[in-house]
């Protein structure tokens, strides 16, 4: 059945209210009438009014004033102003203030029928459109992640299911694909959402620091441990412990972690007391763990403990259809954060974004959009606002005869130097995360002096 259409008639003359109500009711509309503006305003909250037919001249509040109030209280309600005395001035004023139509009594019945049907049809379309947009967004959205890629949507569905359990999850994917966002989403979808979500970046710390970071320590456990401290595992009590870059931890810590997973309890560094663990563990890595197992750099038993539920996030280059969606998502967010009013991305700029390979994945795209929104002067982001590496052939430095990794090493060196080894800023410029940058620094054995000597 079609939803009821509600019409409010406001006129000080009883005969007008009654006759118009009779006429509209014959057409199947739900009609109520009010004799003045004040009474009409009382009625406003009681129903979802599709249409208000308001007389222009009424004692007290006139039709235009009432229309203002209606538009404030119920912006979706369409207002038609009715009058017996037409003047161009009032008509212009009514239309300017947002009346949908201005009708002069008496009105041809056929025209009134058509006008009302058009209004109802228009409203139906607007509502349908809003509903469909919402539905579309719902399907593509999981907390702070958006996608219309079928693999990603499958992952979103999986997350919603597994979140309810306490199983360990292993999230794999390149840097910037959203491993931490996905882990947060799992946490937020889980019954643990009100307990803490604790992140440990395993790659950024040395073995001993990471050990104390994870397990905490007792006073005097090592030089400088002048106070007892709880570790991240304890802090994540009843919540979720997110172990980022799990592939980078030492074999000793792998062993310790395996014990925690198996025994559900642990000791602080230098402590004797067993502390029980009831947090969910989500581990993430951008490394091929199976390869690391072959190379005996990663314990196979730990891998199976972690890999109860496995999620593999595809890189952005394999889901290019998400670029416009992500761009819209970031625009929306930065518009709010920066108090800006950027409407979108110009077609040529979008083409550039679609052509680019996005080695830093969605995070790199986010950084590019953030920067573009800072520098753009207009309401649209243009090609010139985008700082993405030039297309091949227009490379800044001459890379002939050099291998890709040599080029990468040099490029990273230069950016680090330019940013005085500020890791956060350099990672942003490179469009990679800090952890990846640390990894590259280690891989290429870069040191501050090396750069200075260049």
């Amino acid at each position: 059945m079609e939803p009821k259409v509600n019409i409010l008639i406001v006129d000080d003359e009883e005969i007008v209210r009654e006759s118009l109500a009779n006429w509209l009711e014959e057409d199947g509309y739900e009609v109520e009438a009010a004799e003045n503006g004040a009474r009409a305003l009382e009625r406003l909250p009681t129903k979802d009014w599709n249409l208000a037919m308001v007389d222009l001249k009424m004692p007290g509040m006139d039709g235009i004033q009432l229309m203002d109030e209606i538009r404030k209280a119920r912006p979706d309600t369409i207002v038609i102003i009715m009058t017996a005395y037409a003047t161009v001035d009032t008509a212009v004023q009514a239309m300017k203030k947002g009346a949908y139509d201005y009708i002069v009594k008496p009105f041809n019945p056929e025209d009134l029928s058509i006008t009302i049907r058009k209004i109802i049809e228009h409203q139906k379309l607007v509502k349908e459109n809003l509903y469909l947009r919402k539905e579309l967004k719902k399907q593509y959205r999981l907390h702070d992640m958006v996608s219309k890629n079928h693999k990603m949507i499958e992952i979103f569905e999986l997350v919603k299911t597994v979140a309810k359990s306490s199983s360990t999850v292993l999230v794999q994917g390149e840097s910037g694909t959203g491993k931490e966002l996905l882990s947060r989403a799992i946490h937020m979808e889980s019954p643990r959402r009100d307990a803490p979500f604790v992140t440990v970046s395993c790659a950024a710390l040395s073995e001993s620091l990471l050990e104390s970071e994870l397990f905490g320590h007792e006073k005097g456990a090592f030089t400088g441990a002048d106070q007892a401290r709880s570790g991240k595992i304890e802090l994540a009590k009843d919540g979720t412990l997110f172990l980022d870059e799990i592939g980078d931890i030492s074999l000793k810590l792998q062993m310790d972690l395996l014990r925690v997973l198996e025994e559900k309890e642990f000791r602080r560094v230098g402590g004797n007391q067993l502390i029980s663990v009831d947090s969910r563990i989500i581990a993430a890595t951008n490394r091929e763990l199976t390869k690391a197992i072959e190379e005996e750099k990663f314990r196979e038993d730990l891998y199976y403990r972690l890999n109860v539920i496995s999620v593999h996030l595809p890189p952005l280059r394999e889901r290019k259809e998400d670029v416009p969606l992500l761009v819209e998502h970031f625009l929306e967010r930065f518009n709010i954060e920066m108090g800006k009013n950027v409407d979108g991305v110009a077609e040529s700029a979008m083409r550039l974004l679609l052509d680019y390979g996005w080695p830093g994945n969605a995070r790199e795209l986010r950084n590019v959009i953030e920067r573009a929104m800072v520098v753009t002067k207009g309401r649209m982001i243009l090609e010139a606002d985008l700082s993405i590496p030039q297309a091949p052939g227009v490379a800044v430095s001459d890379g002939r005869g050099k291998s890709l990794s040599e080029m990468e090493k040099e490029h990273i060196c230069r950016i680090l130097h330019e940013n005085r080894w500020n890791i956060i800023r350099s990672a942003q410029v490179l469009g990679i995360d800090r952890v990846t940058l640390y990894n590259k620094i280690r891989k290429y054995e870069l040191k501050k002096e090396t750069v200075l000597n260049m």
Partner: protein
Amino acid sequence: MLRKLQEHLEDYLSLAVRITGNMPVPGGSFERSRNQYNSTRILREILRETPADAIKVVGIVDKDLCIPILTFVFGEAQLGGMVSLVSIARLRQEFHGLSPDDGILFERLCKEALHELGHNFGLIHCHDRECVMYLSNTVLDVDRKQSIYCESCDAALYGKTEPWRV
């Protein structure tokens, strides 16, 4: 013509139909500036004069009707209420500059009377162009529709008239 209408309604609706005495058109319903009669005011008067045993009352009037907001109406009814009104003024061929034709007039009157009675029994306008409950804003609309209810309006009406059918 009223007698023929009585027979037609009786046959078609299977309800007892009676012609009451004449009622003068209420003087207060005349709108001098428009040279028309206010149908809502007439409807109010009919309601006041309704016989005690009547279920529904249809007034037939030979005056051009209007309501304040519309230039004219063919008739008016209280939806689900007791009374309705049909004007034959605009149903006459001569209103449109043509020669009088009682046959055409009668057919139009039947349609409009069934239409207004339909409203009194709670039916609203039908989307079927040929159904008598289709909203007619012109005499062309009236001529285009049939003098019967469509299947779904008929079913709804049948349910509503049940207690009084003969």
